[in-house]
Amino acid sequence: MASQMLLSLLVFYFYSFHLARPIHCSLGSNGIDTASVSKEEFSEELLLKPLPDRKVLAHFHFTSTSPPSASNGRHHHLFPKSIAQLVKKYKIKELELSFTQGRWNYDRWGASDPLSTRNAKPPGVELWARFDVLTKEEIDTTWGNLTNSLSGLFCASINFLESSTSHSTPLWGFLPNNGDLRYGALPREAVCTENLTPWLKLLPCRDKAGIATLLDRPSIYRGHYHSQRLKLRSDRLNGIVIEQTLSAVLQPSDRTSWSMYQLFKKIITEKCALAKSSRVFVEIEGNLGSKNENILELVGEADMVVNDQNGHSTIYQYNVERYSEHEPLDIMVNWRDPLQLSFLQAPFHASRFLMGSGNERGSIAISLQSARNFTKGLYDGSNNCFTKVVVFQVVPWYVKVYYHTLRIYVDGEIRDTKDVVEKINITPSEDKVSPGTLEMMLRFPCGMISAALTLDFDKGFLHIDEYPPDANQGFDIPSALVSFPDFISSRIYPDSISSPLLHSYKGRNVVKSYTEVLLVPLTTPDFSMPYNVITFTCTVLALYFGSMINVLRRRISEEERLAKSNDKRRPGFIPLLISRITNKIRGRKEDLADQSQSSQPLLGHKVIFKVVLIAVVATLWHYFLNTS
């Protein structure tokens, strides 16, 4: 017995040993997992930039990266799970979603520095995405699902972009692609805290710790412009990278000095514990060099000061780790000299406006005014040079653009379109199906001072259900995008600063600017009239039908008499039938016999045939009604 027990114990021991090995193994792999999870990184940055018109641009930049999803399954430490699921489910290659209130002032806040080319966005919601799906139909359905998911995630009416009337497929005007890009914009979307809260939810510390604590709602929304953005890129090598940025242009109460506390009514006391790096930058445009001290004074010792390679700007870096509750970070800038800061203009100032009056037709005009200092500096005296300008514009279907009326004026003179247009791609709008898309590459001579494009359009008339509740306010045409592919904005800073924000400045961003949103008033029908219109129209039709039938079958007295005498001689079919039936009931067969002797059996057959026919038709009708 004892030996048997010993044996069984031995066996048990062996089994448990063998069983234990896989446990060890899994523990080991778990260890690797945690190691790879640690690759999920989060960093938070804030860039403050005094603008030439004494406003302050606050640019929050949060980056989260997730390694390729195969290594860690469905689990995430820092990375927002909802976004990872979105990317996986809809096979998104690239996506950018922006909520903007106000318009970026290209003339005063800069137009060709990386910050403005990357972050200036059109008012309302703009969404574009590229998909990793094969066919066009698949992309369209995926886009529909994506808009609905984002709509739920960000509490916005992004789902309106699902309908084919509101999104378009630009080929090269927006971003070069091979038909896998979808673009949609909702210019009228109101942006407010309900969009910011879900956006903050994606941050690991939300707005409880770190730089995001500065996002005090009243201070942010009091600004002249704010734009919150979510940009994500996903590929098999690098996994998913999301950049969440929020840019706000704020007006300090004092024109000569401001501090972070004055701007945000909050101060930073600690960094977000989960962030890999947490920094605040102050960027001063223009190479002020040693003169800095004469013009402005930064209160608070910067950890590092760097200039970019071309000497366009100076960056002061503050590490949040150094600060604590007792010694919070509060950068203060004092202006000593009322000197205007320089800023980089775009080669052309683009604006768009409507021409014409009335609610029947009009024209859209895009005007380009060259910023003289800019072009002169680049091309002086050279005769045979051209500047390329790409115009991308999406027009809703109820603005029916006549593309053959495209006129291009250069310096006030009309030019043949063939001379100026280098490449053009037009998708005309289809009524109630798709918007019109215009992508156009133009080639202007370098010395050009101004150019204008005009397009005529007819205003459409909609069904009463298609008008929004405030129909008389008008309809918005989304901003057009004018980009200048010859001009690249990039800033290269020394590698000593390893910041995702400054790293993103290195990218070759094409200088571009969004134009104004246009408000097109459309004619409205009387919304209270449907019943009246239906009854009036039907009355007129009935009048026509009734009087016409009446005229056609009317007979005047003489004809009537003739017809009556005919009737007497040969009664109609139905009276004959009735009289026959009554006769049958009364049993007077002799009358019947002399009335129609020969025709009686024939008629009888006919009647039976007709009755059977009607019965068959009725049963068939009934049958089909029931089955369908």
């Binding site: 593309y403 004619t523 007129v540 016409m548």
Partner: protein, 422 residues
Amino acid sequence: MAAAAVVFRLALVFFPGDLNLGSRPEVATPLSSLRRLAEGYWLKQTSLSPYAGSMYHGSPLLLPVLGPLIVNRYFILPQRILLFVIVDFISAILIRAIGQKLFVSNRQSMNSLKLSGKKKLGMNENAGDVASLIYLWNPLTIVTCLGSCTTPIDNFMVILTIYGACSRIAPLAAFGYVMATHLSLYPAILIVPVILLLGHGLDAPPSKFFTRNTRSFSWKPVIYFIIWAIIWTCYALLLCSISLKGVGGLNEMFKKTYGFILTVEDLTPNIGVLWYFFAEVFEFFRDFFLIVFHVNILFMVLPLAIRLKHRPCFLAFVYVAIVAMLKSYPSVGDSALYLGLLGLFASELADMQFSFFLFFGYIGVTLLSPVMHNLWIWRGTGNANFYFATGLAYACLQTVLVVESVSSMLKHDRMLKKLASP
């Protein structure tokens, strides 16, 4: 007089101020607007389908004919209009020829009824001249001609059909019929009067008035007509498919032309009533009413054909008038056509009722409709309902005109009978 009409047109063309008639909703409909044709032509030039987008809804055959004329900068406005002036002039000549043929046949039938001496009938030898002058001098025709739209061509094809049928030239009638149907679909119902014209001959009192039946239905020209119609249809479709080769097929063409006509997609205001009706009607009933409105045209085809089979020319006029009233995108050009044809029957319809009311009604509507449109669209002070009201009034006037003309034509026949059977 005819030359004067042409000169008047040309004078108006060279009128310094821009009348901008091409964009009037009364003149140019989405189907006939030359601006849309220019867009279609431009799209085709850029190797897109002319039907891409929802701009052009006309025939692809018009594009190579009219397109270069419009888009080319070397043709200024008068040269563009010249084509339409010529087309109008030819139409008037054809109307005159129809009138003369009608008069000849009328005199023959009167002779055979031994009524030619009766003064009461007041046969008008100049009916053709009157009709052609009415057509040429009608302000609606002039406006249509100058207003750069394709309606003069549509009207010309309809007149050509009737002329071809009147003079029993089957190929010509078939050509006119096929082209008219191809351009605007509705003239398809003219097949009934055309067959009657070819089979029976021109308008005459009902055959039962004659003591011996001289007129019998001859099938030969009808069969010729049908064969020619088939040939022309194939030819037109072939040309269309060649024209649309590589940029879109015939299916797309049918969808964008006939489909566009039948589904009333464009709700731009015009002088009809359907645009406002379909802008307001509940989406759920839309299909039902579409069917009702279109069937309303077809409903009257048979009763009218039975009652007026002895007067096929008049029957054609009634059909044209009904179509002008009930079509989905009506314009004043359609009215110009039937008003011109009305002149052919001036003597038969001499004692028509309400003619004073109709005359001033037409004048009133044509004056009020642009005013209401201007108030609503341009000044923003009016309301859609005012403009719609002029459309309703116009529809009522047309109803009265059609019904009264049919009624007085029937009365005229009765009178003939009374006189013929003493």
